[in-house]
Structure formats: structure tokens, C-alpha cells
């Protein structure tokens, strides 16, 4: 049978606040265990939570970013369960009245097509600490630095249909939240974690199948692999006439498999009820409007603008708009050189390639947008060929200066002097009697191919510096 995959995602996004959601402790990643845990974070007797306004601000920005309803009166609830790294024995979360209601979110797939994915809700909550099972000789260590870090849990509708769509959704989400500046989106440090709800149904049917939830997947690649694995597992069961059990599963990246968590761990009754230590969050219209004014151009808007303004393809526009930094860089290159197409090729090709190879972020690039624009300008004014430009770019990357400095220092200026070029063309023709004979005997169509040989020889003789356009013109004249 042909199966359709139905996927909904819950993204746990760490908000980039300076301090925790209910205490004044810092949220810096990687500090020594328990150095960022106050009496509130440790749930000492009599300690009380005080809401960090910045977390509300970020949550509302997110809501505006997906055009969602903002919960003008949202309520914190206690989610009760015992675990050693959950100091209070409950997590402060939002259950019935989340701060962000329904919205939609446009994603773009590899082929350039787009889809709208429904967002069910997003709510504020606090993170738990970490249990450390190594180095304690059979005991467990507790690090509460992360306890109380603000999270926005973003729940999608079951609108995704493949691993590729799930990954596109997460990439688009990553792009949105970093544009908004509400999270660093660092998946390796756990700033963006994901639970995957997945079920199968026969293609062409509407009823949802029974789902399994895969917990805590923390990279795009693992999301893809976990979904592929889970699809195969469920399809096997269904095709053997079995039934899917609704359960929580863990993805094991090392073994590339999902496995069931013990039912004891999942059969929790969380006994949600409104948190009596906090008042409801009441948001005024003015507050929302002020934040709306602050919204930057968002990735989707930018992508559409790039397509229109610069005549880029959907795919190129999506790549270039994926981060605010990259988009700004690209637009600075365009501003400096005036040619969006070539700028897009250089930014996506050479620049991103070099950054990847050197494992550098865009901010650390040795070649600035202005410098790259300077290089492209020299291609456009025929000072250098595209091929020479690659050499110049390498040299610029190594810190040898601006494009003009490199061209001058290395003598890479394109040869456009007609006398000089003519003598080189003559020399090549004189030394290629056989090829000339072949050329003269060929018809128009074949000649076009054969002329490449003579161009190549001239370029070789000029060490790549001959103006290819002029060489072509000269050859056409001399060989006719």
C-alpha cells in the first residue's frame, strides 16, 4: 500500500533573554554546573517566581512574526511531575491559555514551491535542569544552570507530509526566530529542540492514523533520519496488519533507530492547574502595536522581494534570505556592484563555499561585502575575466588586499590591447596548422566548437589575462 506520512512538530525554542524566565540568574551556556542557579532556581522553601518581561516581549514578537492571534490574557499553569532535575516538582508552563494562538507559517521546499503550515499555538514555559549520569560512580549529578531558562514551545498542526517538509519547516523556523532576534537558534547547544508527532495513513484517505511521538531530536539531519526510520517502522507494522501504539519514543542517533520509552515514564497525569504564585499576563493593545512597529522584514517577505526586485529564482532567493546577516551581505554586494545575478552567484558559490571550508561564520569572513563588490566590478568592466577573478578572490581571502590591489600586485589586469592580442592570435594560428585546416574545412556549426581550441591557446599564452571577448573577435576575423 502507498502510505502518506502525517507529521506535526513541537519546537522547544530557548529564548535569548539575559536572565531566566522567573529568576535573575544568567542563562549563559556552558557555565560550571550550578553556578547559574539561584535560590529560586533551586526551589528553596518560600521562593517565588517573578516573570521576566523580556520573555513576554519575545513571545509576542514570535506571534506577530507568524501573524498569529496574541493571547491578550494568558495564564501560567503548573505541570506536575517528579524528576530530580525539576526542582519544584512542577514545571511552570501554559496550558489552557497560551500567549500565542493560531497562525500560519510559509515554508519553501527544495524545488522552490511553497506550503502554508498551520501553527496551533505557542506557549511560554521554563526549562528543567540536567541530570548527569557520568562521573558520579553510579549516582546522578544534577546541574540546575538550565533550570528556569525561558522556552517558547511552538506546536504545529499535522500539516507536514515528509521528512523534507519537516526539515524545511525547521529551517524556516530557525530563520524566522533568528531574524526576530528572539533566539540564537543554536541546535548543538539545545537552543532549538524538536518533538516529532508522526502517523501514517493510506494515500488518498483523510482519517489520521495513530501517532507516535519522538522526543528531543536536536539537529536537522536527525529529524530527517528519525522520520525515515519511524516511517519504515510504522509501515512495516501496518502492512503486517498490526496496529500502531500511541506512545513516546526516543531517537537514538548512534543506532539510527527509535525505541519506546518505558510506559511508566509516559503515563504521567500532569495535574495541570493555574499557577497561584503568578498573575495572568495581561497584554495591552499598545504593547502589541509597539512591537509590531519594531518587526524587521521577515524571511518570507525578503524572499518575495528578492525574487521581484533582483529577478532571482525562488531557490536562490530562499538561500540568500535564510539569515538576516547573509541577506544584508548580499544586498551590500549588489549595492556596490550593481549586478544582482552575479552577486548572487558569488555569494552563494565562492563566498559560502569558502566559509564552509574554513568553518567560519559570515561575520568572520575575511572578504567584506564591499570588497566582494569591488571584485565583481572588475569583472563587469572587463578588467579581469571570471576565471582570473577566482584567483583574485583566493588572494583576497588570504588577506592580500582589495581586488584592485591584488590585480595590480599580481599583474592580473586583463590584456585588452588589440596590438598585443593580435600578435598572440597570430602566433597561435601560425603554430596550429592542422587545426586551422580542420577549422576551414568544417561547417558553421562545427566551427563554433573548434574555435574554442584557439581561444584556449591564446588564453594559455596570455596566462589567462587576455580579454576573451576581444580574442574571439580577432579569431573570427583572422580565420575567415
Amino acid at each position: 500500500m502507498q502510505w502518506e506520512t502525517v507529521i506535526g512538530l513541537e519546537v522547544h525554542l530557548q529564548l535569548a533573554t539575559v536572565s531566566k524566565i522567573f529568576s535573575g540568574s544568567a542563562t549563559t551556556f556552558g557555565a560550571e554546573p550550578n553556578t547559574q542557579a539561584s535560590a529560586v532556581d533551586l526551589a528553596m522553601p518560600g521562593m517565588l517566581p517573578v516573570l521576566n518581561e523580556q520573555a513576554v516581549h519575545f513571545a509576542v514578537l514570535f506571534g506577530l512574526g507568524i501573524g498569529a492571534e496574541i493571547g491578550m490574557r494568558s495564564v501560567f499553569d503548573r505541570k506536575n511531575y517528579f524528576y530530580p532535575d525539576l526542582p519544584k516538582g512542577y514545571q511552570i508552563s501554559q496550558f489552557q491559555h497560551p500567549i500565542v494562538g493560531t497562525g500560519t507559517f510559509e515554508i519553501q521546499l527544495e524545488d522552490g514551491s511553497t506550503r502554508d503550515i498551520g501553527i496551533t499555538r505557542a506557549h511560554l514555559e521554563e526549562d528543567a535542569g540536567k541530570s548527569l549520569h557520568e562521573d558520579f560512580h553510579g549516582q546522578t549529578g544534577i546541574d540546575l544552570n538550565r533550570a528556569g531558562t525561558p522556552l517558547l514551545e511552538i506546536v504545529s498542526e499535522p500539516d507536514l507530509r515528509s521528512a523534507a517538509e519537516a526539515v524545511a519547516y525547521l529551517k524556516a523556523m530557525h530563520s524566522l526566530v533568528t531574524y526576530l532576534g528572539i533566539s540564537d537558534g543554536n541546535m548543538a547547544e539545545g537552543s532549538m529542540r524538536c518533538d516529532i508527532n508522526i502517523s501514517l495513513r493510506p494515500v488518498g484517505t483523510e482519517t489520521l492514523g495513530t501517532r507516535a511521538e519522538i522526543k528531543n531530536v536536536n539537529s536537522f539531519r536527525f529529524v530527517e533520519k528519525a522520520i525515515h526510520h519511524e516511517f519504515a517502522r510504522q509501515a512495516d507494522i501496518l502492512e503486517d496488519g498490526g496496529k500502531i501504539v500511541q506512545e513516546t519514543r526516543l531517537y537514538d542517533a548512534d543506532k539510527d533507530e527509535t525505541r519506546s520509552m518505558r510506559s511508566k515514564e509516559v503515563a504521567n497525569d500532569y495535574r495541570y492547574f493555574p499557577e497561584p504564585d503568578l498573575l495572568p499576563i495581561v497584554i495591552e493593545d499598545d504593547y502589541v502595536e509597539a512591537l509590531r512597529q519594531q518587526l524587521p522584514e521577515l524571511p518570507v517577505q525578503k524572499r518575495h522581494r528578492f525574487v521581484e526586485q533582483y529577478a532571482l529564482g525562488n531557490y536562490d532567493a530562499n538561500v540568500l534570505a535564510s539569515s538576516r546577516e547573509l541577506a544584508d551581505y548580499f544586498e551590500a554586494v549588489v549595492a556596490g556592484c550593481g549586478d544582482a545575478k552575479i552577486a548572487a552567484n558569488w555569494v552563494q558559490g565562492d563566498l559560502l563555499g569558502q566559509l564552509n571550508r574554513s568553518e567560519l561564520s559570515l561575520g568572520a569572513s575575511p572578504v567584506s561585502a564591499e570588497a566582494l563588490a569591488g571584485l565583481i566590478t572588475r569583472i563587469l568592466d572587463n578588467s579581469i575575466s571570471g576565471k582570473i577573478a577566482k584567483q583574485v578572490f583566493e588572494a583576497m581571502w588570504q588577506g592580500e588586499g582589495s581586488a584592485d590591489e591584488v590585480i595590480a600586485a599580481r599583474g592580473l589586469q586583463q590584456v585588452s590591447d588589440s596590438g598585443e592580442l593580435e600578435s598572440m592570435v597570430d602566433e597561435v594560428i601560425a603554430g596550429s596548422a592542422a587545426q586551422v585546416e580542420q577549422y576551414l574545412a568544417a561547417d558553421e556549426g562545427k566551427r563554433k566548437k573548434l574555435v574554442g581550441y584557439f581561444v584556449g591557446q591564446v588564453m594559455k599564452l596570455s596566462k589567462g589575462q587576455a580579454n576573451p571577448k576581444m580574442v574571439n573577435e580577432l579569431l573570427a576575423k583572422k580565420l575567415s
Binding site: 533551586l42 522553601p45 518560600g46 530530580p84 495535574r271 495541570y272 497561584p276 503568578l278 498573575l279
Partner: protein, 488 residues
């Protein structure tokens, strides 16, 4: 010195009739000689008290004294005190020494009060007789066969026995007013949110409120001045401005309308206690007040409503006591489940366990709507009953308790009979209103308390009514015979 009011002690210290060290020594000696009969203190902080008293004397000499400089008081052992064990009456916190002070403690420290020690209480403030303490029951100074009431029974007994001129207490369902009534002292539960809860070990977050316990309404006003105020670290503390709670004490009662809820004078009320309350009300009438019969029609729902909401909140507030970070931990746990079950099994007493079970049940899937959600709806009805009454009257009055103090052990095996003790006090917490208990006479040598209930943030008026009553009565000045001797 030991039988003076706080107001008189402040004046005496300023007039140098005695020093703070002398005063503090006097109370410490009384505690040493009399408390073995009462068990009203869990910890006595003699050394730090005397050092603070010496510093206070210096400030009194320098002329840099604050409002309460040099005045000794006792704090209920529910308030976290930096460097001083804070047990909350529980084995769970028997070894717990907080690294911080409750906001209330900080305020008293800043105003110069001297902490004599930490008073006994029902474990985690759950109880109406002070028999639920890990440190043993407190006895009533008027008759040591009787309970002092609870949960602030240690504070009430210490003040009644003149072991401290005043004390702090907390009141979740009557825990200041009921022991104040049983011990013949004056106690005030302020409006919910008037006094910070930060650093006060939580029982039921939406009901808990700290307040003063003393001999006179004037002393309660002085203490409330120290305690009241917004705390940015307690999100439920009220930004409503405070006032000088002594300013209206001398107002006359002419034109005051006092509401008497018929439900508070019905079958459950002990006849002799009712007579004492009637006499006190007639006295107030004679002072110019008008008595108006009113009704709180949902009163019969108060106990079930309270005994869903309070245990529900308590069941999760007490989850943090898991043996992981502080407090009691069982020896050699074999795994996590063992750590939890033995730590909590050993650390909590029966009444605490009972309420955790009830509360957990009330919040469970499938029961939430029928219990917790329904109780919150009824809570609103109870609040509305009061709001309707306050359209007609300025304060509401009635008995604090159905009868006077009972014998130790009389109700300890019958939780429901014990819960009925709070029938007149619980609704005030559910509605978040201020309430007082004022000494109003004796039945068989056992004190009786008159309860006064005010509108939100109308503490000054309650204190005014109580103070005026105390100008023409002397019940609040009576002292238990067995306690008037000792070192003094």
C-alpha cells in the same frame, strides 16, 4: 517589663526606663523557665538576640533608632531566617538552615526588632490544634491540658504567656485568628497580598497570608506597619499603597454598620460562646455602632471548597521536598523511587500526607472539573456573598471559633471534627479579606474570640473597631495565672 504592650515597650526604651538588653534578657529568662510547660518555641536564638539587643541599645543611645528598635518579638517557624534553622514544624526541614531571610524578617530587622526565636506550629501550617508538629504539641497557657489552636499555636501561646510581647503568624484558613481566640490574644490576618509571602514556606499559595499576633489592636497596628507593603519579588503582593495603621485607632464608632451573618450564629455555635459574642456586640452597639443582620448564603460550602483548594495547592507546593537538594533525605536510597518514597514517607507527618493525597486526587485527570474547577467556581460565589454584604455594612462580626479551646487529643483522631474548627474563619481566606480575632471574654476560664471581617485593604477600620472595643473592655489584658510568675 514582660506585661507591657509593644507600644509601651517602645516608649519605655526611648525613655530609657530599661534597656533592650534588659528587656530581651527578661523574655529569654521567661522562655527558659516557662516554655518547658508550653513548648511554644522550636528554636530560641539567645545569642543573636542579645547581640542585636546590645546593638539596639547603641542605636537608642545614638538617636538613630528605627520604629521598633530594641523590641523583642518571636517569629513563626514558617518564615525563613538566614543562618537560623527554619523547620516549618516538620522533620522534613529539621536540618534546614536558609541562606536568606523572608521579606517579612528583613523588614522587622530593618526596623530594629529583636528576634527571640522561632515558634512552634502545626507541620507546614496544617492543623487547628498544634498537635501536628514534629516538635510535639504546644499547650495552652490558660490551661495546659488544652490545645492553643493552630497552626500559629506557638506564637499565640508565647504571646499569651508573656514569653514575647508580640509574634508573627500566618493564616491560610484561620491559623492566626483561631489560636488568637483560644489563647486570649489579638490577631490580624491582613488582606491577601498585603504582606509579602517571599521566604514564607508555602502551604496554599492563593490563601496564605502573614499577620501580627499581640495583646492589643494597637500593637497589631504597629506590627502591621512594619509588615505591610508591596514586594516586587512576590508577584501576588499588592501594589495598593499602605497607610499608617495606627492613624484611625481613635476614631469613634458612631455610625459604624456591623453585619452579623445569620449563618455564623446557628446550630454549630456553642451557646456560652455565643453569649460572650452577643455581649461584645452589644458593647459595640453601645459605643455607637449599628448591628445589621446579613446573610452569607454559601457558608455551608466553605469547608468543602477550602478542603479542595488548599490541599490541591499544598500537594504541589510540597513536591519540592524530595530529598534532592536540601532537607531530610532517607539513608542509602537504592534508586530514585526509593529516594522519593522513603524521604517523603519519613519526612512528612500524617496530616501533611493526608492533604497531599486529597490534593493530588482533586487535581487528577477526570476529577479536576468535579473538584478543583468546581471549588474555584464556588469560591467566587463565596466572595460575592461578602461583596453583597459590604454594600450594606462596614464590617462583619461573629465568633472566631464555634467554641473555646478543647483538650489535647480530643479531636486528633477525627480530621473532619478538626476541620470544623475553622468553619467561621475559612471563608475570609477564600475571599482574600482581612480578618481579626479580638478577646471577648471567657467560657469556663477559656478565652473566647470575636471575629471582625473587613473589606479588602480595610485593615485600619478593623483595627479601629478592635481598639475602641479594647478601650472599654479588659479581656485582652487578662493574664493566665500560671504564667504571671517566673522571672520578671
Amino acid at each position: 517589663m514582660h506585661n507591657k504592650s509593644v507600644a509601651q515597650l517602645i516608649a519605655g526604651l526611648r525613655a530609657k526606663h530599661f534597656s533592650s538588653v534588659e528587656l530581651t534578657r527578661c523574655f529569654l529568662d521567661r522562655i527558659g523557665s516557662l516554655d518547658p510547660q508550653l513548648n511554644s518555641f522550636i528554636s530560641v536564638t539567645e545569642d543573636t538576640a542579645l547581640a542585636a539587643a546590645a546593638a539596639a541599645d547603641q542605636r537608642l543611645a545614638d538617636g538613630t533608632a528605627a520604629e521598633l528598635t530594641g523590641v523583642p518579638i518571636a517569629h513563626k517557624d514558617i518564615f525563613c531566617t538566614q543562618g537560623i534553622r527554619t523547620s516549618c514544624g516538620s522533620r522534613m526541614l529539621d536540618n534546614f538552615v536558609p541562606p536568606y531571610d523572608a521579606t517579612l524578617i528583613k523588614r522587622f530587622d530593618e526596623l530594629g526588632a529583636i528576634t527571640l526565636g522561632k515558634t512552634n506550629m502545626d507541620e507546614f501550617a496544617m492543623g487547628s490544634s498544634n498537635e501536628n508538629s514534629y516538635y510535639g504539641p504546644v499547650r495552652n497557657p490558660w490551661n495546659t491540658d488544652l490545645v492553643p489552636g493552630g497552626s500559629s499555636g506557638g506564637s499565640a501561646a508565647a504571646v499569651a504567656a508573656l514569653l514575647a510581647p508580640a509574634a508573627t503568624g500566618t493564616d491560610t484558613g484561620g491559623s492566626i485568628r483561631q489560636p488568637a481566640a483560644f489563647c486570649g490574644i489579638t490577631g490580624l490576618k491582613p488582606t491577601y497580598g498585603r504582606v509579602s509571602r517571599l521566604g514564607m514556606v508555602a502551604f496554599a499559595s492563593s490563601l496564605d497570608q502573614a499577620g501580627p499576633m499581640a495583646h492589643t489592636a494597637e500593637d497589631c497596628a504597629l506590627l502591621l506597619n512594619a509588615m505591610a507593603g508591596h514586594d516586587p519579588l512576590d508577584s501576588t503582593s499588592s501594589p495598593e499603597p499602605t497607610q499608617d495603621y495606627t492613624a484611625q485607632l481613635d476614631n469613634k464608632l458612631d455610625g459604624l454598620r456591623i453585619g452579623l451573618p445569620s449563618e455564623y450564629f446557628g446550630d454549630g455555635l456553642d451557646a456560652a460562646t455565643g453569649e460572650r459574642i452577643d455581649a461584645a456586640l452589644q458593647q459595640l452597639e453601645a459605643q455607637g455602632a449599628t448591628l445589621v443582620e446579613v446573610s452569607l448564603p454559601n457558608s455551608q460550602l466553605t469547608i468543602p471548597t477550602y478542603y479542595v483548594i488548599a490541599p490541591a495547592e499544598a500537594s504541589t507546593n510540597l513536591s519540592r521536598f524530595d530529598g534532592v537538594r536540601y532537607g531530610h533525605r532517607c539513608t542509602d536510597p537504592v534508586d530514585l523511587h526509593d529516594l522519593y518514597t522513603r524521604t517523603r514517607g519519613e519526612g512528612f507527618g500524617d496530616e501533611v500526607k493526608r492533604r497531599i493525597l486529597v490534593g493530588t486526587y482533586a487535581l487528577s485527570a477526570g476529577y479536576y472539573d468535579a473538584y478543583y474547577k468546581k471549588a474555584q467556581q464556588v469560591r467566587r460565589l463565596i466572595q460575592q456573598d461578602f461583596m453583597r454584604c459590604f454594600e450594606q455594612v462596614d464590617v462583619i462580626a461573629g465568633p472566631t471559633t464555634p467554641g473555646p479551646a478543647f483538650s489535647l487529643g480530643a479531636k486528633s483522631d477525627d480530621p473532619v471534627a478538626m476541620y470544623l474548627e475553622d468553619v467561621y474563619t475559612l471563608a475570609v481566606n477564600l475571599a482574600g479579606l482581612p480578618g481579626m480575632s479580638v478577646p471577648a471574654g471567657f467560657v469556663d476560664d477559656k478565652p473566647v474570640g470575636l471575629q471582625l471581617i473587613g473589606q479588602h485593604f480595610d485593615e485600619a477600620r478593623l483595627l479601629n473597631v478592635a481598639h475602641q472595643y479594647q478601650q472599654v473592655s479588659d479581656w485582652h489584658l487578662r493574664q493566665p495565672a500560671a504564667m504571671t510568675g517566673g522571672a520578671a
